[in-house]
Structure formats: structure tokens, C-alpha cells
């Protein structure tokens, strides 16, 4: 052994490079489906939170508080074992993206609520006084103004969600982190801890960093456009 980053360890990682790519693929697939669920739930509950209707607001509040104040690992285990013990064999993918989607949806809901609430009340009133119904008011007047408030935190939420796919490890997932863990602890493959975890981290970084960068670039572009409107 010549240190934890020995050539032998690197070589082992290279030999099993496919394992990491499969893990990355699974992580991205889970994240993509979870994102659709999270966006749908976030839009629904975010709109409910800003609807001004007490009952809808309360329902949205309960959803957000419940999922933001319990660990994702717990939600994941609960869903997985509840399904398993009720006689279903859900596999790993379905409970994975469902739990992740529902959990992230709670954060999306808050992001969208904050975005809508950032638009002055007068804008809603002007649109209503012109005869815009709820949906067209949102589409033409409110959402175009709230998008710059929504976008940066939404990108952060998505990045967090991609990283959270690693929680699937707890139910024996096939995501990037789970497969890395199996690799370094495997009977035939084990041992190459340092290069394997490093590679795993690099792969996560390669996905998440461009996303955050893109989001801040977009945010800056919108801000610049706004300045132009003022000058």
C-alpha cells in the first residue's frame, strides 16, 4: 500500500468505472422524476398558500411544516417499509423518487409562495380590475414578475435534491452514493475508499455546480434587464 491514493486503488476504480456511471444515471433519473413531482406539488401548494382562502392556506401549511420538520431519511424509510409490510414490493426507484419528490415539494412550495408574495398587491388588483381571471392573472401578470425571486432559491432546492438522492442509500438504493459505498465495501472490489469517494464527489459536483452557476447567471441577466428598464 502506498497511501490511500495508490495507483492500485485508482486502477480498481477505473476498472469498475461503469458502476459509477450507472449510479450517476440512477441518481439523475431519480432526481428528474422527483423534480417533476416536486414542481407539481410546489406549484399546487404554493398557489394554495397565496390563495387567501383559509382552508387552502392551512392545508398547504400543514404539508410544508410536516415535511420540512421531519428528516428525509425517516420519510424514506417510512414509505419504503410501510409499502413493504403492506404486501407491496415497490422496488427502490418508486419509493425513492416519491419520497424525494414529496419532501422537495415542501421546499418548492415555500419558494413559489415567497415569489408570488414578492409582487405588490396593486399588481393583483390592477389585473383583477381589468378582468383577468385567476389563471391568466398568474400567467401574464404575476408569475413573470416573481420569476426572478423564484429562480435562485429554486435552483438551490434542485441542487439540494440531487444531493439528497444519496439518502436512498438507507433503503439500499442504486444511486451514485449507494453504488460507491457498495463498491468500496464489496468483497472483490473493496478497499479503494479515497479515489472512489473522490470520484463520487466530483461527479456530484459536475452536475450541481453548472446548475447553480446557470441559475446565478440567469438571475444576473434578469437583474440587468431590470436596471435597463429603470435607466
Amino acid at each position: 500500500m502506498s497511501g490511500i491514493f495508490s495507483a492500485r486503488a485508482w486502477n480498481k476504480v477505473w476498472l469498475y468505472r461503469k458502476t459509477f456511471l450507472v449510479g450517476l444515471g440512477n441518481t439523475l433519473e431519480t432526481a428528474a422524476i422527483a423534480l417533476v413531482i416536486a414542481l407539481a406539488l410546489g406549484i399546487i401548494f404554493g398557489l394554495m398558500a397565496t390563495s387567501g382562502k383559509k382552508v387552502l392556506k392551512a392545508i398547504s401549511r400543514v404539508y410544508v411544516e410536516f415535511f420540512q420538520n421531519t428528516p428525509i431519511l425517516l420519510q424514506l424509510c417510512f414509505l419504503y417499509y410501510a409499502l413493504a409490510f403492506s404486501g407491496h414490493s415497490p422496488g427502490i426507484l418508486v419509493p425513492g423518487f416519491t419520497a424525494l419528490g414529496v419532501y422537495t415539494g415542501a421546499y418548492m412550495s415555500e419558494v413559489i409562495r415567497a415569489g408570488i408574495e414578492s409582487v405588490p398587491k396593486g399588481q393583483f388588483e390592477a389585473a383583477q380590475s381589468q378582468g383577468f381571471g385567476y389563471i391568466s392573472r398568474m400567467v401574464h401578470i404575476i408569475l413573470p414578475q416573481s420569476i426572478k425571486v423564484i429562480l435562485p432559491p429554486m435552483a438551490n432546492t434542485i441542487v439540494n435534491m440531487i444531493k439528497n438522492t444519496s439518502c436512498l442509500y438507507i433503503i439500499g438504493g442504486a444511486d451514485l452514493l449507494s453504488l460507491t459505498y457498495s463498491f468500496v465495501t464489496g468483497e472483490n472490489t473493496g478497499g479503494a475508499y479515497a479515489p472512489a469517494y473522490l470520484l463520487c464527489g466530483v461527479l456530484f459536483f459536475l452536475i450541481c455546480f453548472p446548475l447553480s452557476t446557470l441559475a446565478s447567471a440567469w438571475e444576473n441577466a434578469i437583474k440587468k434587464r431590470d436596471r435597463k428598464e429603470v435607466v
Binding site: E125, A126, S129, G131, F132, H140, I141, Q145, V230
Partner: protein, 240 residues
Amino acid sequence: MIRLENVNKYFGDLHVLKDVNLEVKEGEKLVIIGPSGSGKSTTVRCMNFLEEPTSGNVYINGTKLTGKNKIKVVRETTSMVFQQFNLYPHMTVLKNLMIAPVKLHHKSKKEAEELAYHYLDVVGLRDKAQVYPTTLSGGQQQRIAIARALCAQSKIILFDEPTSALDPETIKEVLDVMIKLAKENITMVVVTHEMGFARQVADRVVFMADGQILEEGTAEHFFVNPENERVKQFLGKIIR
């Protein structure tokens, strides 16, 4: 044209409108005056159901407004000009004027654009069509807001303190546009403190205090011999 029937409005425990009855006739120019907190704004905001009365009814052209039909009835009959202009900041002036005609009144882009330029001429701001509203002065923004209201070609325009947020020197340019409008056959309901304007255009002036209509009459009546003590007090402060 507009009728308020025993309208009451509460904000929590606060009784803002107390059994208000008021009728506005077609083409009439009605000015509502009174001290702040008297319910003037709430009264006009009830006319297009931006505020829904706690009890009582609002009729527009004989149709009783409800939570369900308000959007449709309001779209077809009324426009509103706000104290804070409320132009859409993410659109150019031209887009601000075109969006409702295109999206709500089924006009083609071309028709809507012609309409927009026509009313920009009316308010004297044709050259500002391509700029964003935030680049304009308050007075200019309010004139654009009036043009936007006109583009809906509604028979009724509600003005909620249209000059209260303006610099003294820009108030006149907005009032001039409104005086010009008053010559058209548009029903105007104007909440304002501008007694000169009331005197010049109002067919009828209504004085409100504490959520009630205390006195109504012509502008002349209010200048010459108001009856109610409360009205005399108020006018004594604002007419110089």
C-alpha cells in the same frame, strides 16, 4: 348604471361602510369627497368588487355582482385607475395598453395596437410607447394608466384618488386628461380631494364620513351652502 344597495363592509371588527346606498347614472360624473378613513376608497372598490361587501348588493347595469360573475361583469363594464398607478413593470407602455384588449377582449394585435396609439394620443404620450413604465414620472405613469383604462373601452371608469400620490406640479397634467375625458359619454366615479376638479366636471358630489354618505349635491352646493356641520368643517380645511 351602478347601484349600491345597503352595502356594509367590515375589515375584521372595523365597520368601514355603514349601509351605503348610492346610484350612479349612465354618463354621470360623480365625485366622492371626505376625510381619510371615511370609506370613499372602499366604496369605489366595492363597485368593481375589488372588495366584496360584507352585506348588501352591488348592481352594474342591473346585474347583481357575485363572487362568481365579478370577473366577467367587471371585464365588460368597468376600468379602474389607482392611486399608485399599478402599471405592469415587466412590460413596455405599449404592452401595458395592449394586454387586456388582446387577452381579454379578443382584439387582434393590430387592432389593439391602433387602439393603444389612439389613447396614447389622447393622454399625449405617444412617444413613450416603447419605454418601461418605471422610467416615467408619476404624472406620466398615471396618464398611461388612464390610457390603459380607456383601451378596455369600458363605459365606466373608477378613479381611486388618482392624483394623491403625485407631485403638485404633475397633478395638473393628470387632471387635464380627466377633464378631457369628462366631455365623453363615460361614467366616471372619482374619489379625490381636488375640489377645483369637482367644481369643473362633477354632476354630483357625495360627501362621506365614518362610512356613511352625509350629504350630496352639486359641487356648487358644497361651495355655497353645505348643510352638515361635519361637511362645513371639512370643506373649510380644503377649500382655500
